[in-house]
Symmetry: C2
Subunit: 213 residues, 2 copies
């Protein structure tokens, strides 16, 4: 089964929307409803869900619970995936708090920091560890994912150690474009770029509006 990157992204959004419906006691949902709640179109919803192998009935729509379970099997995989976070500054703390208990099969189990003064403290249930011996700890704990929240200049060295420790996927918040082996997946979240992009398009739209008026 080949699933596109955009479909993976939308399945994550659909699952969250479906989770809220389930909490509200909703049992069935039509593709146009799911589309409207996730800023998508009914055609895209149907195509994405078809890719998961799940099918709804035209009369009653999709079963909310069944659909959540199907998306679970696509996104979550059969075993828990464990995450290590490196860099417990403001952003690192925010990520520890954010991802805590978010999903059953995806959790931050280790947090590292370069600053010896932070080592040993417990934040959001996770003890902060020194970076010495990181590789061994990653392997011992079966960590397969890394979140990098260190400043730019430290990011490549941290990525190298995470990869040496067996990590196969990285979420990189640093502004550094990372060099990793081809079989390691990197998702960059570039906060500076994001705000600069918002500033650019907001200005452009304000200008277009001015020209129309």
């Amino acid at each position: 089964m080949r699933i596109s990157e955009k479909t993976i992204e939308r399945l994550s959004v659909f699952r969250r929307v479906l989770g809220r419906l389930q909490e509200s006691g909703v049992q069935n949902v039509y593709s146009h409803e799911l589309a409207s709640m996730s800023h998508s179109s009914p055609e895209i919803v149907r195509r994405d869900l078809m890719a998961t192998g799940y099918s709804g009935s035209p009369a009653k729509g999709y079963e909310v619970l069944g659909l959540i379970e199907t998306i679970d099997t696509v996104l979550d995989g059969p075993v828990e995936q464990r995450i290590a976070l490196v860099g417990v500054g403001n952003l690192g703390r925010a990520m520890l708090s954010f991802f805590r208990g978010k999903r059953q099969r995806l959790s931050i189990v280790l947090a590292f920091d370069l600053n010896p003064e932070k080592v040993g403290r417990v934040l959001f249930g996770t003890q902060i560890l020194p970076v010495d011996g990181m590789e061994t700890l990653l392997k011992e704990n079966g960590v397969s994912l890394g979140v990098i929240t260190v400043p730019g200049p430290a990011a490549q060295a941290v990525a190298d150690r995470l990869v040496a420790g067996g990590v196969q996927g990285l979420l990189n918040f640093s502004p550094t474009p990372l060099r990793v082996p081809r079989d390691v997946y990197v998702e960059d979240i570039d906060l500076t770029m994001a705000i600069e992009k918002v500033a650019f398009y907001a200005r452009q739209r304000a200008r277009n509006k001015g020209e129309e008026a």
Copy 2:
């Protein structure tokens, strides 16, 4: 001048790379060097920079300082754009700290929180304000951009108030797909989706590797 969204994103990355070169005393850079430092290709670098109207000399490459200034005029616009942040939880604090003094013409000038206990405190040089009267304060301070770091259920109401206060661009960290007027630009940063995507692709690559072996 029409510039694509991808070009805007890359210009932001190029400018950051160029800034580091400038700090190191480098005066000229070739497109292939800039490409390698920003995970791009020389062709894309040349095409993107052509879109800004700047041209390098084949012999010496691009002038670092001149190129930074050109990108500034594209990305930054002629006047300062002021940002308001709503939701001073862990993520909000991280954003206040992150964006502080990042760019001359782009700064968070107001921070709001729904929790009265947080109001009045000063964080990273910004006093936390109550949400009552937000619209007036946004207009008085000429705020044109908003950063939303409140929990999902509160996000739409916050977006409505920011838009009512004259904001034209939003950076949305909440998982809620926002409904805004067509002339307001929204950039979503979906942290749950990002980590789920990393988990999916890391697992897939590990599996492919296993099959190859």
